[in-house]
Symmetry: D2
Subunit: 258 residues, 4 copies
Amino acid sequence: MMAPDLTIEDLFSKEKFIFIAGPCAVESEEQVLETARFLKTLGINFMRGGAYKPRTSPKSFQGLKEEGLKILAMAKEETGMNIVTEVMDSDNLTTVTKYADILQIGSRNCQNFSLLRRVGELNKPVLIKRGFGNTIDEFVQASEYISGAGNSQIIMVERGIRTFENATRFTLDISAVPVLKERVPYPVYVDPSHPAGLARYVEPLSLAAVGAGADGLMIEVHPEPQEALSDSKQQLNFKQFELLYKRVNALRDTMSKF
Amino acid sequence: MMAPDLTIEDLFSKEKFIFIAGPCAVESEEQVLETARFLKTLGINFMRGGAYKPRTSPKSFQGLKEEGLKILAMAKEETGMNIVTEVMDSDNLTTVTKYADILQIGSRNCQNFSLLRRVGELNKPVLIKRGFGNTIDEFVQASEYISGAGNSQIIMVERGIRTFENATRFTLDISAVPVLKERVPYPVYVDPSHPAGLARYVEPLSLAAVGAGADGLMIEVHPEPQEALSDSKQQLNFKQFELLYKRVNALRDTMSKF
Amino acid sequence: MMAPDLTIEDLFSKEKFIFIAGPCAVESEEQVLETARFLKTLGINFMRGGAYKPRTSPKSFQGLKEEGLKILAMAKEETGMNIVTEVMDSDNLTTVTKYADILQIGSRNCQNFSLLRRVGELNKPVLIKRGFGNTIDEFVQASEYISGAGNSQIIMVERGIRTFENATRFTLDISAVPVLKERVPYPVYVDPSHPAGLARYVEPLSLAAVGAGADGLMIEVHPEPQEALSDSKQQLNFKQFELLYKRVNALRDTMSKF
Amino acid sequence: MMAPDLTIEDLFSKEKFIFIAGPCAVESEEQVLETARFLKTLGINFMRGGAYKPRTSPKSFQGLKEEGLKILAMAKEETGMNIVTEVMDSDNLTTVTKYADILQIGSRNCQNFSLLRRVGELNKPVLIKRGFGNTIDEFVQASEYISGAGNSQIIMVERGIRTFENATRFTLDISAVPVLKERVPYPVYVDPSHPAGLARYVEPLSLAAVGAGADGLMIEVHPEPQEALSDSKQQLNFKQFELLYKRVNALRDTMSKF
């Protein structure tokens, strides 16, 4: 295993800007390894990928489950990626914990208080996404379920809320970045992919997140977005991601001089 | 145990209008038994009461847990109440299932797909509340997780959504009643207590629900609302509830002639 | 001219339940007269119909303007209808005032403060619709622009607000009825047509409005809804309206005994 | 009169990033002149200031009216500022047009179609703010009322929409920037002051707007914000504004190399 460029400690120091990238869902060994190798060329070593997928309809693709986790483990083995993947309930918590470096709590579980308490009892970083129907205040209180159980390795992710506007999939609440940074000591990231809903809006929302002061970005990338089994319209291809990556870094450099 | 006036079958026949009433949270034996006896005098034999409470803050009262379930069992034993109580996760599912006649899925768990699947595998009625950030479409798909797992004994409850209006705690989406009745074969109830937020709005919202065609109401009642450990402003006292009960029945009688 | 069954004074006494019905837009003499005669058979003598139409797109039908007002005047002359029609700006205020018995301020003009002040200076009833983006508090303050200018003949109409739910055109905020009745001394009506968006939801929303305590209803009716130049999906035909009318009255009778 | 650094043509070329700054309301000669002189030191020559103020309550400060316009004219005379000020209705259109270089249509008048048509008939730039209850689609159609009447000198301003979140005054819909830039050929600006509601959030929202690709910013600045007659919490003092100005320009420089 290669030495990763950044460590988990770097996440919590908030000194370096963090990218977490990867496909919406783990679909195949090839898809995941190809993505991991690509990210490595950019110096990114935090990779996302869903093995257990919370889908609105029971008829949609639900993820490869443990087989998906094993594929993520292969990517970690080969490229040194730190794995960020979602835990959906107490039942799969033990399994997911074996493979994940960072446990992700999805938007729909932001107020699943039982699950929050359970990940709070572990000694592993937890990335929690804001519920799309939750206020910032509720989001902060959700983090208190985790920290209250003993785990303060928390990353909070703004990923858009539900409003009357439907030109985008969700409305990115960009103001949540400065508000959260006042209220919690944790890193505050933005997921621009879910509010965008369309790949071409991901870059402007990412740059906006940098401007607003986010500590990192969590972005969906796929070798062939149009073939993806979920979120196919909003995932970036490698070329799009690379351009975004350079621009975000350029903006961050400027910001770091303020 | 007295013979109940209405049976679980009556819930699903949709021929009779159903009241589910009781305190927000089980607080004491006296509180629950007093309420059960009161409801019995009105011929109501479906009682709600939370033993496991999903609270926004980890510092708020979290419920009496299994002790609370035992208190509900006493009420059932003495008065024949059918017990409606909330299950929050797979961990307490077995325990809650022992005591509950109807399992309640709360608003914050409307898209807890793991939990939906689990209650879908049981042979017990499930009352599911709409997530306050969920569309009607998502709510219908949540019911498909339950029915898809084999359980079609479902009751769907509109309980208000989150909007910009803050004169009330949530905005009761009264239109959801006719829309849901077109889309699902299940009974559609309204919970007027949570959107109202204040006791004095519960009656008009209840009568509105009747007008909109709801099959039942789920209402918070407490012997001494001002002393309640949660939702104290929105719970009705017995006198308020009795008046509401008579008026709802009068309106339903009129509606039944249409 | 026949003596009308109800007078303007009846509107403000709040003792009788009021129906204001008629087409979205005045389209032709035949359409308006046919509707007026129909309403008269039911004893309804308040008729709505837009001559100046505020349309989202400049390319949509904008109304017949003064020609439309003259058609409304013919209906009034023949059937004794009291005319409710919309005023859009100071420019057409004088013209509209000549023909209208009740001036309507539309949802998009709820915070057109100049217009509110102008109608406040007249001695003519004003029906103001809630802005779909306005809180109840802002709606109440809009009425204060009218009353503050000297005119307290105000009718306030809840007509739905904008939310994330799109199964209906707008979300009828049924709770606004009891809240408004606490805060203003004016009659509070509900327009179920605009939130419904579809004719088949108009009746349940109307009956809900009665249950919530509304003082009246404002409903779109058209001889041939499918031919209407605007809002064709939500207008009721005569048969649908007549059934609704009977049911609303039956419910009101029951309510009046409370 | 001094030669302005930027001209009206520069607004529409979209080659230079534009700042429009100034107090919420014109309050006094001293306040306006002091602000104009300050802006001039930064090379800013577009100044905002409300003489006719649309206020939710009729009891709030309504603006100095024509006296306020005259004060703005003095600032223009002395410093060469281009004046941006709000027109509220057809009645004050003629007066405002005499003094304003750019006519502002406020959020509450975004669907005041009569007013849109009227400013569309003039040969003067129009800055239109998005209605806080309006979709992007409706906002675009509002611009079509202006352009359809013959005036294509339009600037569109995103200023926040109404959502359930109340940590900020409105929710800045940052995604509206890239969406609007696809749909209209006009400059797209952001007003960070109104969604922020608090001065300390104005800078992060401004930098976010730059990242999202906005063509300009419209910001409230006041010599002594705590003394302001309106919006006192969200106006920046000169020092805060100067820092923001430098940072925005630095970010823009970086962006301009993409």
